[in-house]
Symmetry: D3
Subunit: 227 residues, 6 copies
């Protein structure tokens, strides 16, 4: 359940080494390593391709058409954080632009993940401040109603607790609970190591059917080859 009108200053951030390490594996591998949970809905898209980040979550709960709490959140950002923002009811307005990005970068933020719209996307691209959002819109917002900062939020269908690790790239956005960050990084590293070998074998023409030993289970399931 959401709480409005609260800013929590002291949050328990995930282990820094693990939080930083997760970026290199990307959202797809981390999602697998975490046991196939933690994914935001696929309508969350990067405003420009190629960004790949991980960091600790500072969460924001916003009112529709109102970005007041993003200004409040800026003060809570520490280097290595990613801001994860949700809205209490659906909205596509442009909550965030180059001025807020300048402020977030000055505080050490690595990215913004927001279940709403943003604007100034050309400038954000030039500044290399990556954003994952639901929409792009020129429409700005007002500053009139309280939300919260650093309370648990639901962002694009996924629960985000302050301090969790957010991993985002061109494939999407995954949230890793702080307590599982180190184990997940380890599992992701193992997956990646295995994949290099598989990739080489597949490139040489070995079929997944044989490499993964799928022929027998497929036959058991009743697959018939016909001419």
């Amino acid at each position: 359940m959401f709480e409005l009108g609260i800013v929590k200053r002291n949050i328990l951030r995930a282990d820094r080494v693990a939080a930083d390490a997760l970026a290199r594996y990307g959202s797809a591998t981390v999602h697998e390593a975490l046991g196939r949970v933690g994914l935001l809905q696929s309508y969350m898209r990067p405003i420009y391709p190629g960004g790949q980040v991980s960091g600790t979550a500072v969460t924001v709960l916003l009112q529709p058409g109102d970005n007041w709490m993003l200004h409040v959140a800026a003060e809570q950002i520490q280097p290595g954080d990613i801001v994860g923002a949700a809205v209490v009811s659906p909205c596509t307005d442009g909550y965030f632009g180059d001025l807020l990005a300048t402020s977030f970068m000055a505080r050490g933020a690595r990215a913004l993940v927001i279940d709403a719209g943003v604007r100034d996307v050309k400038a954000l691209h030039e500044m290399r401040f990556p954003v994952w959002s639901k929409a792009i819109s020129s429409k700005g917002t007002i500053k009139a109603t309280l939300g919260s900062v650093n309370v648990p939020v639901v962002c694009a269908g996924m629960w985000v607790t302050p301090g969790d690790v957010i991993v985002a790239d061109d494939d999407g956005v995954v949230v890793v609970p702080a307590a599982r960050a180190a184990a997940t990084a380890q599992a992701a590293a193992q997956r990646e190591a295995l994949e290099a070998d598989k990739r080489a074998r597949l490139a040489s023409g070995v079929l997944g059917l044989d490499m993964y030993k799928m022929r027998e289970p497929l036959a058991l399931a009743g697959l018939r080859y016909v001419d």
Copy 2:
């Protein structure tokens, strides 16, 4: 209310200097300068990133799956115009491709804003003819039923009167009434001047909370900081 079967030849275009000046401020700043009205719905997206234009509107009202009126509109284009096209019921067909773009460019058009689909998008990108549309579709159109040219239309939720200024960039599309073009350009220039200073202060680490003097109104609204 829409009228079908009409081409209006003499329209009152917005002041040329103001119409041309608005491009540099971009849609987000112009939307603010205009008092936060005039924005087309955010599903209108550029077919390639980086275009930023303004110009005077030649409007077109189209039938679903029928681009006849775009050919009629071409003759009404003057240098500095942007064609703003609406459809009487929703359609994603590709109304516009490289041949029409060649013709529009030969007439001096700067862009197309269309609440429907377009095609030949790779060629349009290579020609650097910017388009904002609802869809991209290979499906062409027929030429069978009348619409109108240079009547007021509703395009992506916004009223566009012939001669209005259309401003479009990666953030979206805004319509500025002809009579307010000069005042809006002035207001946009003022906003931009203020933003440069703000940007520098935010980059130096000043918080928006302090720069915008938000701490007192937040406290009055009841914001609580907890540890």
Copy 3:
């Protein structure tokens, strides 16, 4: 009607020369040349711009959240094929990533067209393996339930028979029946030849109104010019 649990090994591929030739005309011209049929829905988008391919269809029918049949399909791929994949009920999961792409490329596949999601899109771009999909999602899939390979499928609203030619570019995806591939290529070539001349005339300022002799039919339809 779909059949589950079947892999058809011998399919009648379209004439290779025609199948290869269609790529250069692009989906919009091919769609016209085919008589304005054969187009997949416009929500099918390339994961990166600029790809333009044609090839013979190997079809796959998938279960929601299950990519088992893509592995089965890999073995049926021959050089020059494009895999066309449908799902029995709507799903946006990421069915396909860089490992499967490595395998598909090793078999000679030119592209994937899938009415579902894919992942590893940055890697796919770097590998230059083009994909047209409904979604991008980090979420992987399981391997538990049978679908089919090389049965007729409905992909994004269009019927695809194994061996048909698939043509895809930035404008969308078109399916050409195998038996009509050569005739369609010829018709597309004729269209393209005509367009070069038209383009030159339009660029010189000739209006489509005159070039296409539209003034009389427009007048007959009742178009009125007003001042």
Copy 4:
């Protein structure tokens, strides 16, 4: 272009007899009688089936998540009016419930047409106050930012001028310009008279092919019958 912060008190309502007469023909017939324009987008649906109304438009321009102007509008309602409400950016919140409906009914309003959400729909049904809306949502709204009353608005893609006639039923919502209300009612009456005869002939087994004399134009268009 929209104006904010304005209430226009004296509006020119359409002829009362014509405005009242249009209800009986329903939205589909009126849309035809008006020349196939004036229709709101088809996502506008009645909250309960069976309502069929017409009336003169009192228009409201709302801010997202804010229903302040509906209270202002109540005072401008006269018996026989229908309130037509638009929002400056998309919102599905519940702007209207049984209390406002009580007030609107006390003023003589016949219906609400709103490009947003409403709530208390069971009570509204019991009160027999018909509403056409984009959404149903329990979420209430605040009262903080000005919009306008009785300015022209764009509602669900259609321009509504204060005093226009709104016609709504289970098929959708049509707007008839005040100046054309009488002529449209007459044209609708003629259409309806013709339809009674057609219905009887079709019920007797006469085919539309023959009644509308379509066989020759179909043959000319190239239709082939095959066995």
Copy 5:
């Protein structure tokens, strides 16, 4: 692949007894009995609740905004048919109303399934002519461009061949290939017989966990009960 401009007069209808029998089982049971294939997308909804029909398909391929072929189709209807209509590109216009319904009923049609919009829904309800559609819209259509009648079509994502059995109720629409109609009716009858017994046991408090013997496979899959 679709063919335009063709009316096939002689189609092979499914066995009448089987086609008629399928209605009583409903779409969900028939979908299971058919092996979980054949379902149209779930956006196809009845215009009023409670209809439950089956019949042999007369198919129609329509152009966007053009219902000419529905008139052509009327002549091909035989008692016990259901018209299945697709459009070559997406459209929500109202293709069908009470006049066409009168004609269809006079020919013996049992229902319409259309991947587009319809209108006059109150009258259709009063006439008890059931329709499953994608949209409801007052907007009528023109009669200008050829489609086809009784060619295979893709309707809401599913292939429909003339003569197939269409089964529709409040849960959705399923297509049963003509050749499998009798076997499917038999399988559906068996399913239904089994369900009566299951229902009684579940109503008495027996758990599905026990009735379906799920406890062991769940334990094998690793399910853990915690307190």
Copy 6:
């Protein structure tokens, strides 16, 4: 964060009296009484109108296309519960029909709220078992992959903890945290008492402008009346 493969047997249900009392106020009033939070997205709709319930949440986390965990959940249901079901990635399949409803009713469940599809909706209506869902679909599901029962889930954008109170009616679905159930019921009762008086005054013709004392703040905000 979600956990898979777990069934929690002992959950702390909200106070029974409060949980039962909330139904009568309905979702809109409860949403206000709770401080305007707790609302599921508005795409969650009742399968038939008129249901109005409250109860304690038994939560279920499902895999796409797989309803195994609903059978597991049945055993955890106690009289007065409402089952709240989420899926780990978007799915519209029909997870629930009359057999499961029979079992749920035998256990004392009052309703199902599911962020996916259901089927047998006519039977469910006849049984008077209310369901709020995202879709209706004939398509059944398999029983192959573990989810969880009675873990916290995100359902249609809202966090649901086992034991919370779910309130649902024609306006939508609201979740009340167990610890706040009694206070929310009290606040809702107060709101309702106030509304009766307001309703009477509005019905007598008093304007909300006066009853809520809005004229002064509107004037301060700059509202202008023009003639």
